[in-house]
């Protein structure tokens, strides 16, 4: 039988109960959230379960919500079942003071560099990652640039006048 958002939701709630929540379907894609500690268990379940088989990690990124204390950084996984052609989105939220998330590298090798990029931009510490260091920015950078509190432009440049550039 074909895999619908309803069946996925039922199987997830059946297995994890209260630990998965916030089921939504923006623009047709099922999107849910789970507790930070069980992100690997959820992904493993989605990978192994015969009815689900989400074996392709499309994307891994993070979003910073400075307003929600205790849940500032969301790590968003996009998974894809290539056989049934179903995509889902799965989020875990973590605190900005101690942003620890278990790494998905054993399950999906694609997560290796995607997690490094997320660490580089947001400072999310992926526990168990084989090589967690900066990938896109210069190694000496000491802050995490994509967080909302940091500006886009480099502050030491002298040739571009903010007033004239409309900032």
């Amino acid at each position: 039988m074909s895999l619908t958002n309803e069946t996925i939701k039922e199987q997830l709630i059946g297995k994890f109960g209260e630990q998965v929540s916030h089921f939504e379907e923006p623009y047709g894609m099922l999107s849910f959230e789970s507790l930070n500690e069980i992100n690997l268990k959820v992904m493993q379940f989605l990978y192994d379960e015969p009815g689900l088989q989400f074996r392709f990690l499309t994307d891994l990124c993070a979003v910073h919500f400075p307003g929600q204390t205790g849940r500032e950084i969301a790590v968003v996984y996009h998974l894809h079942n290539l056989v049934e052609n179903v995509r889902i989105r799965f989020k875990v939220f973590t605190d900005i003071e101690k942003p620890d998330v278990f790494t998905a590298t054993q399950l999906f090798s694609a997560a290796n560099w995607m997690e490094r990029e997320t660490f580089d931009f947001y400072g999310v510490n992926f526990v168990g990652h084989p090589n967690l260091k900066r990938i896109l920015n210069v190694d000496e950078m000491d802050y995490f640039p994509m967080r909302k509190e940091y500006p886009l432009e480099e502050q030491t440049r002298i040739d571009k006048d903010d007033a004239m550039f409309g900032r």
């Binding site: 923006p26 994307d59 995607m114 931009f121």
Partner: protein, 407 residues
Amino acid sequence: MSEQHIKLPEGSIEKNSTTLNLGPTHPATHGVFQNILELDGERIVSAEQTVGYIHRAFEKIAERRPLYQITPLTDRLNYCSSPINNTGWHLTCEKLLGVKIPKRVDYLRIIIMELARISDHLICNSVVGVDSGAYTGFLYVMQYRELIYEIYEEICGSRLTTNMGRIGGFERNFTNLAFEKLEKFLAEYPEVLREFENLFTRNRIFMERTIGAGPISGERALNYGFTGPNLRAAGVDYDVRVHTPYSSYEDFDFEIPVGTTGDCYDRFLVRNQEMWQSINLIKQAYRKVQEFKGAEAEVYHADAPAYYLPEKKDVYTKMEALIWHFKIIMGETDIPPGEVYLSVEGANGELGFYLISDGGRAPYRLHFRRPCFIYYQAYSELTKGSMLSDAVIVMSSLNLIAGEMDG
């Protein structure tokens, strides 16, 4: 060079393997990324990649720009095939805003996207030739890339970084001259592609260089997140145009070429065959566009005045059009909050756009799922145990575009 410039790492004199630095400036016009290879004689023991030499912070810039100002940023992702990136971004915006696109616009978009795909595969395949020493094929096909550039110029005014189209369609109807050039392309290019194939496909030297270089199995490729021609060369027929059709691809009839071993030769052949399929698609789309008659033949954009920039001649003469133009460009129109993920089949694979909007003028978060970044991770596995010259061939056959990789 004095000792200050050279700092030898720990144990580098005692170890048996040679460390070779390949990049970031290396004599093949691919882009800037660095591979540090450990060689045992001529065999590669391991490879470590460093990227980020052209990190331009697209995602951070996009958090400050209204939707139309992000289109030039998307151009510069995979700059060999900018119209695909532009169309992907416009499709994402249209999904978020709920704009419905007329069929003629879809078919015109398909023509442009397939031309861009041909343009990118031409660069990749001819550069694989250049890297294995065969410069001639490159010069033959660059001539026809110039014709593709002229077609882009007729449609949007610029050659390479096209900034093509609007949310809802195109900025102007395709002129007769654009269609004339397209017909010339369709008439002359297949012959050139055949000539290019004759140079490479059954060429003994090329085959010896590329067969067996950098193979990967289908399961490993899927685990690494490969998409696009690299995945199809490994045997998995996943193509976003077929799985999640966008822009009316479901109305068309085309095949997905699939390889077996995933080595460089298979990738070359898959890209080659995809070019034939693209020519097929352009012919079908062109025929369908010509079937529109009368008023329908003048449709080149959706009816969405809140998001589609008004035409230039109206902007210069009528007040309302000027006001709408200003409001839309400056981001003063209302964007609904929402979260959308859309992917298109870029020339390298699944190019995804993850857009979170909170109702403001600029996206709250825009993330590009860049295929090059994801499959370059596998380079160390692809080259383990192969010879040094294979390292170069594998790198160029993966079609690594630095702009997309670092973003």
